[in-house]
């Protein structure tokens, strides 16, 4: 166990997640539901719990309501007690300016007062955006044993993805010699996972020098490159499952990994905790399978009632699949109703959507990208926003986006073409 005096955790959970489009339009990225029962941040908080860390400062900013409801004081992760807990740190008005956090480093800088209250020896900086299981204790122990000022967790990513990450070059003893933040032609494919162990004093000094003087506001872009050559920066290689589920495609792929423990994402052994929220799956009854149900290669949360056929899919609590409906390769969130005879394939249905009988979602030509957001959606997935109403018989193609709370039954539609977007 490491008390706050030893290692304080600062968890950056303000992510906007704009490439998740409507999935993150009303919630912060860490609060996006994942894996049939969880929210993305549960993975990081469960890692914190399993690593024996005791105090977390949770930095929120973007649409924090569902996140705050979910995390509460930290008790779902046993982070509760007189010296254990999760403290929510929203942006606030300062003396001179009342700015929102301008970047990751700025968020920590603006909460130096919170940190000083605990006078920690080290600070572990995490983000709540990733799906992985990691023992931070080993990383912190390595940081201590090697006498580093800053240790950065890193893992190899495909070369074509390097432009999305901060990448580093390290020597034979893992000391970092170069660091590039999101550049076109990276020198390395060893990507920063955004997991930093800082010696507190080094952190405070660097933040005051960089953020305090308004030189820069970001760890990857400003703080870390400036430390090269002056401080001892250690690379901590991580081998294991780790995914940034920041795009609709990567979100869908990582979700499907939940179905196959061989993918490396094994919910059966990862012991991920979530809040047993009464609106989530808290008191819901067991899964109820009707006499005509067929369910294969799927994850089904409590409170679901299935009469139809479900394959290669993940169902969140309270989903109803009526008779004759077929659901394939889909992610269906809480309390969605898929009416009789519906066909759903390769789609993500956000909470509380209702599909009238014989509606079809996801049939069409995957080669037509979404016209309005081609960079968000070109892999064939159709996304339907929270509480949308899809009238009986409506045909919705591939790469479509239907906005939250839209009632399409009032629009006299019979078909939504491939790549189309309908938002309010």
């Amino acid at each position: 166990m490491r008390s706050a005096r030893d290692t304080l955790v600062m968890l950056l959970a303000g992510g906007v997640g704009s490439r998740l489009n409507i999935l993150a339009s009303e919630r912060a990225k860490p609060a996006v539901p994942f894996g049939g029962a969880y929210r993305i941040i549960d993975f990081t908080l469960s890692n914190v719990m399993h690593s024996g860390l005791e105090l977390v400062g949770l930095l929120t900013q973007y649409k924090p309501l569902s996140l705050m409801d979910h995390v509460r004081g930290g008790e779902p992760w046993d982070l509760i007690g007189r010296e254990r807990g999760v403290k929510i740190l929203p942006p606030r008005t300062g003396e001179a300016d009342s700015d929102w956090y301008k970047g990751t480093a700025d968020a920590v800088y603006q909460n130096l007062g919170f940190m000083e209250g605990y006078d920690p020896d080290k600070v572990l900086i995490l983000s709540g955006d990733h799906i992985y299981r990691m023992d931070y204790e080993r990383m912190i122990a390595t940081h201590e044993a090697r006498g580093a000022d800053l240790t950065i967790a890193a893992m190899p990513v495909p070369w074509e993805e390097t432009h999305r990450f901060g990448v580093m070059v390290s020597d034979a003893e893992s000391w970092i010699t170069e660091f590039q933040e999101k550049v076109k032609h990276a020198k390395s494919n060893l990507a920063s996972m955004g997991i930093y162990v800082f010696n507190s004093r080094a952190l405070v000094e660097e933040l005051q020098a960089v953020v305090g003087t308004k030189v820069g506001f970001d760890f990857g872009k400003d703080v870390i490159p400036g430390m090269l050559g002056r401080r001892r920066l250690l690379c901590y290689p991580f081998e294991g499952y780790w995914r940034d589920v920041g795009t609709i495609k990567s979100y869908h792929e990582a979700t499907m990994d939940c179905l196959d423990p061989a993918s490396g994402l094994d919910l059966g052994t990862w012991e991920i905790r979530t809040a047993p929220d009464v609106r989530g799956w808290g008191d819901r009854p067991p899964v109820r399978l009707g006499a005509s149900a067929t369910v294969a290669n799927s994850l089904v949360a409590r409170g679901c009632a299935i009469q139809g056929t479900v394959e290669n899919s993940v169902l969140f609590p309270g989903v109803r699949i009526e008779k004759g409906a077929r659901v394939r390769d889909a992610i269906i969130m809480q309390d969605v109703v898929v009416g009789e005879g519906c066909q759903v394939e390769y789609a993500i249905l956000d909470k509380l959507c209702v599909l009238g009988p014989k509606a079809a979602v996801g049939a069409g030509d995957p080669a037509v990208p979404n016209q309005r957001f081609p960079s968000h959606l070109d892999c064939g997935i159709t996304v339907i926003g929270k509480s949308a109403l899809i009238p009986p018989g409506l045909q919705i193609g591939k790469n479509c986006i239907i906005g939250p709370r839209l009632d399409l039954s009032t629009q006299g539609l019979t078909r939504v073409a491939d790549g189309e977007t309908i938002v309010s």
């Binding site: 894996g35 059966g268 991920i272 067991p286 899964v287 399978l289 799927s298 994850l299 409170g303």
Partner: protein, 424 residues
């Protein structure tokens, strides 16, 4: 004391030893027996009390209370937390003169008069903790107040040929109890007592004191109620017509479990029953995983189970594994059992953490009563006690009772004939 004053408190009778459930109650009181996959029997009553807005509940328990104490967790799952809300387990304690165990339900209440008086309630709701039902107590309480009754008892109409199993009453037009008979062969009425009593506190206190001095059996149902009716105290009936089950025998227990799969099943989504979601009972399991070989229908399936075989008309509790090619029909599988590849279960109850070896066949042949306990196990179901391991290839007949904790080596032969009991 005024600060502690409550209009009404609840007292749950949860301590009774019940031999009729054989191996299922070898290590737990009946109120802690699992039912419908994720619940324990006492969850139903505690949820009812919570929904009725009763803020203080005493649970009278003495028989092997450990699993009950763990499960109740100071009432937190039912929101019995706060400065003026409480759920307390009232175990027998040593008095100044004697150190008796509870001699009966009336004695248990009598020994805890101090607890009742601490809250100075006008009414005390006394309920059994070992019945499965969802009931709104408030209309019954309103009737009690409107009729200015001393005692109101909840009844349910039962088939005439079943009435001898219960305390029965005849009501007049004003719903006043004119006859009360406790388990007689040919009762005058077909209204069965559900062991749900609303007492005026003063009446209860007086009657308990009287019973302590003059009683013979120290039970509410066999002494206090008959005497009150005989002395023409104001005893009224409230007739309930919802689902209510009293699993007295193993046959009843099996039938009660199967009820949730039938057409008359109570709607658990409409009246959510709360249970303890903490690790060890329910918590931290991922959603149910249906693997590629799964074929499950007409069943109830809980979190953390992984199904790769055929499951029909069965209850699958949390954390159960059904391997490829296994077949489970008309069975009740409790927490964390493993049914290995190719095993067949037909009309079987497996207590927690039973392992059924590859290719074993449990429940084959014609329906036979258990030879040692034909009065409680006659429906042909075979029951396997907690944590026993059935050897691979083993053949076990119908109506068998397999003791808890058996190792594979404890089975002398490769087959157990129908009706047999296997002891350690």
């Amino acid at each position: 004391m005024t600060a502690m004053r409550k209009q009404m408190i609840g007292m749950v009778l949860a301590g009774g030893r019940v031999d009729e459930l054989l191996v299922l109650t070898a290590t737990r009181p009946k109120s802690a027996v699992p039912v419908w996959g994720m619940y324990r029997v006492i969850d139903f009553v505690l949820s009812n009390l919570m929904y009725a807005g009763i803020e203080v509940v005493g649970v009278l328990s003495q028989y092997r209370p450990y699993s009950l104490i763990t499960h109740l967790a100071n009432g937190e799952p039912w929101d019995y937390v706060g400065r003026a809300r409480a759920l307390r387990i009232l175990s027998p304690f040593k008095g100044a003169d004697d150190s008796d165990w509870y001699k009966g339900t009336a004695d248990a209440l009598y020994q805890n008069l101090g607890f009742i008086e601490r809250y100075s309630p006008e009414l005390v709701l006394v309920v059994a903790g070992d019945h499965v039902y969802s009931m709104d107590y408030r209309p019954m309480i309103r009737q009690h107040l409107a009729t200015r009754a001393d005692l109101t008892i909840a009844f349910k109409r039962v088939p005439r040929d079943q009435a001898h199993r219960y305390g029965t009453a005849v009501l007049d037009e004003a719903r006043r109890v004119v006859t009360y008979q406790e388990k007689v062969k040919h009762p005058a009425g077909d209204l069965a007592s559900l062991t749900i009593y609303v007492f005026n506190t003063q009446v209860l206190v007086d009657r308990l004191r009287q019973n302590a001095e003059e009683g013979r059996t120290f039970h509410v149902y066999s002494e206090i109620i008959p005497r009150m009716v005989e002395e023409q105290a104001k005893v009224f009936g409230w007739v309930f017509d919802g689902y209510w089950q009293y699993a007295r025998t193993l046959d009843d227990y099996y039938a009660t479990n199967m009820d949730i799969l039938g057409a008359s099943a109570p709607d658990l989504a409409a009246w959510p029953v709360r249970t303890n979601l903490a690790p060890g009972s329910m918590g931290d399991h991922p959603p149910a995983l249906f693997q590629r070989g799964a074929g499950a229908r007409a069943s109830l399936v809980c979190d953390g189970s992984a199904l790769d075989g055929i499951v029909e008309r069965s209850i699958i509790s949390p954390g159960v594994t059904i391997e490829r090619g296994a077949v489970v029909r008309d069975s009740v599988i409790l927490h964390e059992c493993r049914v290995e590849a190719g095993a067949i279960l037909d009309r079987v109850i497996l207590d927690k953490r039973v392992r059924v070896g590859r290719g074993a066949h449990v429940g084959e042949g014609d329906t036979v009563s258990n030879a040692r306990h034909p009065d409680v196990l006659s429906c042909g179901v075979t029951v396997v006690g907690k944590e026993s391991a059935i050897p691979a290839g083993m053949r076990i007949g119908r109506g068998c009772v397999i003791s808890p904790g058996l190792r594979e080596a404890d089975f002398a032969a490769a087959a157990v004939p129908s009706g047999a009991t296997v002891l350690p």
